[in-house]
């Protein structure tokens, strides 16, 4: 183990430590929300937002530790890939699960996607008749 937690106390090191702790805590809280929340959509909200922010924060902390070397650049390239990949996949998954027929939870108040989903299903039926 060459890289230890106890390093120099420069400004970059302090930012590195703060970002790393933020990332790990957000990862843990996102996973706790995945278990505790009542509904598919709530769970997806907690999981995607918290975990994506946490992992991007950990990757950004490596940039502050290593500077603009090979490793830091590699970490900063991974951030947009992970960010857009995870959020687009979550959006597709929530749309698919709504059209699949997963119900909202008991405590949900409003369902704004209902009309649009019915309209799209009617369009599909018309297309099939033609």
């Amino acid at each position: 183990m060459q890289n230890t937690w106890e390093g120099k106390n420069s400004m970059n090191e302090i930012i590195f430590k703060i970002l790393l702790i933020i990332g790990i805590l957000f990862n843990l809280f996102g996973c706790i929300g995945l278990v505790r929340l009542p509904d598919v959509y709530n769970r997806l909200q907690s999981a995607t937002k918290c975990v994506t922010l946490g992992t991007c924060s950990i990757l950004l902390s490596l940039l502050f530790h290593f500077g603009f070397t090979e490793i830091g650049i590699k970490a900063i390239v991974a951030i947009p890939l992970l960010f857009f990949g995870a959020t687009v996949a979550a959006h597709a998954l929530v749309k698919g699960s709504y059209l699949f027929g997963v119900k909202l939870g008991d405590q949900s108040v409003i369902d704004e996607y209902k009309d649009e989903a019915e309209k799209s299903s009617e369009d599909k039926k018309k297309m099939n008749k033609k």
Binding site: I24, I71, K74, A78, G85, A89
Partner: protein, 83 residues
């Protein structure tokens, strides 16, 4: 020692994802748990690469995130209208 505690905390997150994978009532729950577990595993790979001084793990994490994206899009498409 401190980095070991960080790795243990991340592993607790992965265990929570596996619990949701087991008890999830619908298929969408399980797919969401897989999505979250892949993102957490990317963080774990980055931390392991930092701690053990093997930066090839960063490349592994990058490719793993792309592969998980393609797999989740396939699952979402299947749930929406069938393959």
């Amino acid at each position: 020692m401190t980095t070991l505690i960080f790795i243990i905390i991340i592993c607790i997150g992965i265990v929570l994802c596996i619990i949701r994978m087991g008890i999830g009532p619908t298929a969408a729950d399980r797919a969401i748990a897989v999505d979250t577990a892949t993102t957490v595993v990317v963080a774990l790979l980055v931390l392991l690469g930092f701690v053990f001084d093997r930066y090839i793990y960063l490349d592994v994490a990058l490719v793993y995130s792309i592969v998980s994206f393609v797999g989740l899009i396939a699952i979402a498409r299947y749930l929406e209208k069938g393959i």
